[in-house]
Amino acid sequence: MRRVIRHRLFWPIVALLVLIAINTIARPQFIGITVRNGQLYGALIDILRNSAPLMLVALGMTIVIATRGIDLSVGAVMAVSGAVALTIIDASSDPTGVGTVAVAVLAALGVSLALGMWNGLLVSVVGIQPIIATLVLMLAGRGVALLITDGFITTVNSPPYSFIATGYLIGLPVAFLISLTAIIVIALFERRTALGVLTEAVGINPEASRLAGVRARGIVFTAYAVTGLLAGIAGIIYSANIRAADANATGLFIELYAILAVVLGGTSLMGGKFTIAGTVVGVLTIQTLESTILFLGVPSAQSPVFFAIVVIVVVIVQSPRLHAWARSAFRARARGAASDSSIDKAKVAS
C-alpha cells in the first residue's frame, strides 16, 4: 500500500478518478458506454476522442520539457498544419478523394515537421533560449496560417478528411486511435531506445552530458522536431473536426494546457526525469474537467474560473510538501506526544 501511495503517478490518478466520480455522482450515465453498430459511445469515449489534439501536443511537450526546454509554438503549428491541409483540399478538383486528402495530410505533416525542425535549430544550434525561440513561431505561425488561407476561414466538405476526426475504426474513434498510436510509438521510441535516458541526462546536466559524449544537440533538435510533427497531426484532427481552418482559433492556448498536463502528470518544468504515462493522465484529467464543466452545466462565463479552481486544488493535492506536512501531522497525532520534531521527514520529501 505504501509503495502504491509513494508511486509518482498515485496522486495524478487519484485526481482523475475523483473527477470521474464527481461526474458519475452528478449524472450516473456519465460512466455508461453504449454500443451502436459496433461502435462505442458515451461521455468517457468522447473524452478519449476529444483529448486527441491535446494528447499529441502534450506528448511532444513532455519530451521538450525533459530537455529543459519549452515549446510555445505548438498552437500556431496546429493552425499552419490545418491551413495547409485544407487549402490543398479546397484547391483540388476532387476534394472528396482519398488521394487528395492523403496529399493534403502529408503536406501538412511535412510543413509541421519543418517548423519543429526550425525550432530545434534555433534552440540547439543557434542556442537561443527555448521560450524566446518558440515564441517567434508562436507569434509568426498564425500569420503564416492566415497567409496560406488568404485571410479567410477555409471550409471544406470532404468526408475522408472529416473521417480523421469523427470516424470510427474497430469500434473506436479514429482520433483516439491516432493519439493512442502516438502514445505507444513515443513511449517505445523513448524507452526501448536510449533516447529517453539520454534526453533525461541532457535535461539534468547538459554540460556533463556533452563531456560524456552525448550528442546533446541532436537530442534537443529531435525533441522539437517530433513536437512539431505531433502538433501537425493535432492540427489535422482539429481542422477535420470543425471542417475548417481557422488560423486564429485553432489550438489557441493549447501550449498552456499542454504544459499544464505535463506538470499535472508529474514531470518537472526544470527538465530531466519525465513520464509519458503521467502526461497521459494529465491530459485525461484536463479533458475530463472540460467535460465536467459542460456536464455540470457551469455557465460559460464562469467556466474559466471553475477550471482554474479545480486545477489549483489538484496541484495543491499533489504537492510533495503538503504530503510531508500531512504525514507528519498524522504521525504526531498517532503518537499523541508533542515531543517529536514534526518536520523530521520534510527533508526527504523536498
Binding site: T193, A194, G213, D344
Partner: protein, 511 residues
Amino acid sequence: MPADVEVPPVVEMTGITIRFPGVLALDGVDFALRPGEVHSLMGENGAGKSTLIKALTGVYPIDAGEITVAGRRSVFATTADAQRAGISTVYQEVNLCPNLSVGENIMLGHEPRSAGGIDWKATHSEAAAHLESLGLQLDTRSQLSTHSIAIQQLVAISRAIVLDAKVLVLDEPTSSLDRGEVERLFAVIRDLRGKGVAILFVSHFLDQVFEISDRITVLRNGRLVGEYAASELTRAQLVSKMIGRELDELAALSSVADRDIDRARTPVLRATGIGRRGTLEPVDIDAYEGEVVGIAGLLGSGRTELVRLLYGADRADAGEIQVNGKPARIHTPRHAIDHRIAFSSEDRRAEGIIPDLTVAENIVLGVQAKRGAVRRVRKGEADAIVAELIQALGVRPADPTMLAGNLSGGNQQKVLLARWLATAPELLVLDEPTRGIDVGAKADIQRKVAELSAKGLSVIFISSELEEVLRLAQRVVVMRDRRKIGDLDSSEIDLDGLIEVIAHNGSETAA
C-alpha cells in the same frame, strides 16, 4: 593558544542523530565550539561532516539530540534562524548573488537607510570598510561574478561579519584557492579568531588543517571518534583516526613511478603546439602506452585548459594532435571519444555526474552515448558492466539503483571513472580525480590508475597533490602561467625539486 583557556562553548551539540532513508548519517555525535578558536571537523567523505554542519545551520532537522547556542537550547528550522542566532556559513560554492555588486552582497538586508530609501553611498562605503578590515581593497560597485572565487569567499566572510556572526562555518573554503589566496584567508581567519569568533573549519588539506586549527574533531561513519588539541596530534595519527586503518596503502603505491616506458614506439597521443589564444600558450605533450603522464602546476597554471583542448571540451586554435601516429581532428568531446580518449573533469558536480540518474545509468551513459540513442545497451549487458565496475572500483554503497547525486564525492568520482572505463579507452585524462575526496577513495583511485596503466592504458593525471603525481607518473609535465615550463622524468626529481620548478624560474631550460 586561546583554546587552552577553558571558556564555555558558544555552540554545544549533544547526541545529534540524523537519519536518511536507509542511512544513519549521524549517530549520537557530540560537538563543542568555543569562542576564539579554530576548530576543524575532519573525516572521510560520508563521515558526517557536512551533515553535522547542516544540522547546526538549520538545513537539516535533527532526529535526536540537542543544540545549544550561547547557552540557549536552539532548534533551527531554517538557515535564516541559524543566521539570526549568529551562525554564518561560507560554503565551497559561494552562496551569494553573483549578479549583484560586491557592496550589495555584503550589505544585503542591512543597507543604511535615508529618507528616500537605501542610502547607496553609505552602503558602499560601509561595505568597503568591512572589506578593508579584512585587508581587501575592492571596487564595491563591481559585479561579484567578475571576481575570483577567492575574492568571492572573502566577500562572503565580510557578509558574515556584517551579520555579526559569533560562529563562522567555513566548509572547504580553500579547495579552489591558490597558496597566496589561502594565506590571505588564513590571515583573516586568525584576525576573526582574535576577535572572539568561533570558527568551524572543514578542509581536505591536512597541512592547512594543522596550520590553522586549535582543535580537531574527527568523525567516522557518522560517529564521533574524538576531539583533540591540534598540537597534540600528528598527521599520521589524524589520518589513521579518520580512516581507521593503516596508511601503508598510500605508501605502498609508490613503486609505479619508475616503471619503464617504451618511448621508441608511436605514442598513443602526440600533441604539438596545441594552444588557444588567451587560454594557453602552445604546448607539446606525448603520452605513450602504459604511461602515466602527470601534470603539475598551480590552479590557473593552464593544466586544466591543456587537457580540455586535448579532449575537445574547448576548441584549440593552434597545434596538431596525432592519435596512434595518425593526425586526428579533435574539436568536440565526440571526436575525442571516437579516438578512444576519455576525460573526467575536475568539476565533478557541474561537469561529471548526472545527479538525478541512478548509479547504473551514470555508469552506462558513456557507452550509451558512444553507441548513440538508437542502439540501447541491453539490460543484461548494462547490469554486467555496472556490477563489475562497482565491484572493481569499490563504489559504496554498492547499489546500482541509488541516485548518483546521493553518493559522497569519492564515490561519485568512482562512478565517473567507471563510466569511462566501460568505454574501454586507450587514453584516460583525469583532471583532479582525487580532489575533495577521502583518503580511502584516494588510495582506491590511485591504485586503479596504477593497475590500469600497468595493463597498457595511457593516462594523463592532474593533481594538486604533488606526492600523488610523483607516486603515479613516470613523467611530469609542469605548467605555470598558462605555459609548459618543464617535462621531467619523475625518477629524477623529488617533491622539493618539483616544488622548486613550479615555484621558480629555474627550469626554463628544461622545457
